[in-house]
Symmetry: C2
Subunit: 348 residues, 2 copies
DNA sequence: CTGAAAGCGCTAACAA
DNA sequence: TTGTTAGCGCTTTCAG
């Protein structure tokens, strides 16, 4: 069916070893011989079988990437960064959407181990689930035993090289941004439970409140699932709870988009009636109305670094590279109105 | 290092053949034997080497996907659809960003051929470039010779199974939508040259004008590169050219976002001063201000269908599955003002 | 139901 | 500089 190396050898009147040498260019071969081989390769449209090669070299030139979903801009940006350096290094990427399902995550890692990937990069965010952590640790060990490795994007309770944004710091700063212009009753639309991202951003929010001598109020913390719909629903729930607040800090920009829609639907204007901030600075955030004040997370850079950790020789230490986040001021925040700021509630 | 099949066999006191049989569950094995093997597998953390398997079976359980860039929502949605059915079928996806570079595209296909992928799905859009077409045809042949196949998303002058949206029809309808409310001078922000998508949408635009007895005016057709920046730049260029127009049809939603920004910057309001329509209906389009009237392309469905074509047995015919597009009316279109509509120009 | 053995296509000693 | 050959880890006849 498909030409193999001995077909090429026969056609070029050389041995398979010689063909292998010109293909890999890792051994001296006489110029005329090389040409004959190259011609045979061309004539036959020969492409070396990567599996046979991988079987011997025990590496595949392939890196596995686990993410939530490519259509989530946050992950898409990370993948873009990963792609960039994969491309430079001549590596292929195997992408797996786990949809935040821990068991699926483990199943994928096993498949990737079977593929003898050079590394697997986990981006989906730690799931605080003991069973999962144990399984993950086991997979990390298995990977290492294969001469591969696990690289983490984000905070995981696992010993492995990692790169993670300063979520808590960013959340702290963006919350203070709200506090500094007089907001006191700031609602937080948190991410799904058990994710390090959720926890870290929540912690930053609480820290900022505390730095202003404020107690976090449970009824002002609502949970979403990092989707537009989740943000929309949570915001409506918040409004309908009749809790008082003058600002909302959404744990990611996508939920902020849902909030914007919900608020508009209820006749509330941002930032006139309610101030709103997000997190991530996904590309669209600048184009929202109003342009969203948020915290920039260097997603592509996280991807790039992760891929570097995945490929670098010798293997990196099991330490986390913390990347700074940055407050991006746009137009979705306004000073709280009037002197009775603390009492201000959304109009109904 | 890593356990292999004979380690498992030894530990379970059986032959490698038996291990293989329980692993693949394609042959009768006595229950107690099977259990011993399964236990050994568990104890050793054994994962079968997919390369060794691929070497024999000549299939890899892997499908290659070529796209422009994951961080482009259009492609991200297609990939999401592809992922869905890949997952159901237990297939792994190898993703390659070609960034619309034809030579990179060919290089990737070669790598994927080496990986013995079960199929490669091309989504990046046809590049009208003879050299490329010849090379692509050659790769398609090579793929077929391997028992693999090429599947196309979009219009290509290549004989292969394909699934493509009705771009021309959608462009026709959305342009008519503008014409019907009195717009006569409609600018078109076309995509990059040599892409079938660009050509088809342009054709639909021209067809709609013709159906109203209008001649397309060259100065109203500007080219962008399907990015926000491209849309922004093109729109500014259009305004500065002092050409007269009351509406803009952007060849994709992302460029429409750039147009929105450019228009706002010049103090032009949509749809009061200028009506705007896009194409694709990417998820964010409903959240723009104003919500964008556009043409919905079933991106995820394209991906799903493409993957089905990639996997189905027996191999599909070399025919294109045309998927309908649908006009989505939102709020970025208004009737042209006054009676002198044809003469209306954007305020300066 | 289980085992022995022949490769799949390639690389990497080892010879020549 | 080139050729010969022994596997890499697995599946799959073919025997038993």
């Amino acid at each position: 069916m498909t030409a193999n190396i001995s077909d090429v050898a026969r056609r070029a009147h050389v041995s398979v070893a010689t063909v292998s040498r010109v293909l890999n260019d890792n051994y001296p071969v006489a110029a005329p011989t090389r040409e004959r081989v190259e011609e045979a390769v061309r004539d036959l449209g020969y492409v070396a079988n990567a599996h046979a090669r991988a079987l011997i070299t025990a590496t595949s030139g392939t890196v596995g990437v686990l993410l939530h979903d490519v259509s989530d801009p946050y992950f898409a940006e990370i993948v873009r960064g990963i792609q960039e350096v994969a491309d430079e290094a001549g590596r292929l990427l195997v992408l797996c959407s786990s949809l935040r399902d821990p068991s699926r995550e483990i199943a994928y890692i096993k498949m990737l181990r079977g593929q003898r990937v050079d590394a697997v990069i986990l981006t989906s965010g730690y799931i605080e689930d003991d069973e999962f952590v144990v399984a993950l640790q086991e997979q990390a060990r298995g990977l290492r035993a294969q001469g591969s490795r696990l690289v983490l994007c984000g905070g995981y309770p696992i010993r492995a090289p990692a790169v993670a944004p300063d979520n808590a710091g960013g959340a702290f700063r963006v919350t203070r941004e709200l506090l500094q212009v007089g907001h006191v009753r700031i609602a937080h639309l948190a991410g799904p439970p058990r994710f390090s991202t959720t926890e870290d951003r929540l912690r930053g929010y609480q820290g900022a409140l505390a730095s202003f001598g404020l107690e976090p109020e449970p009824e002002l913390i609502v949970t979403g699932d990092f989707t537009r719909q989740g943000g929309y629903d949570a915001c409506l729930k918040l409004i309908d709870s009749r809790a008082q607040f003058s600002a909302i800090f959404a744990a990611n920009d996508i939920m902020a988009i849902g909030v914007l829609a919900a608020l508009r639907e209820r006749g509330l204007e941002v930032p006139r009636d309610i101030s709103l901030v997000g997190f991530d600075d996904i590309p669209i955030s600048r184009d929202l109305t109003p342009p969203l004040t948020t915290v920039a997370v260097p997603m592509a850079e996280i991807g790039r670094r992760a891929m570097q950790l995945a490929l670098c020789q010798p293997p990196p230490e099991d330490s986390v590279t913390r990347l700074p986040t940055q407050l991006v001021r746009r137009s979705s925040v306004a000073p709280v109105r009037g002197a009775e700021s603390a009492e201000l509630a959304p109009a109904r």
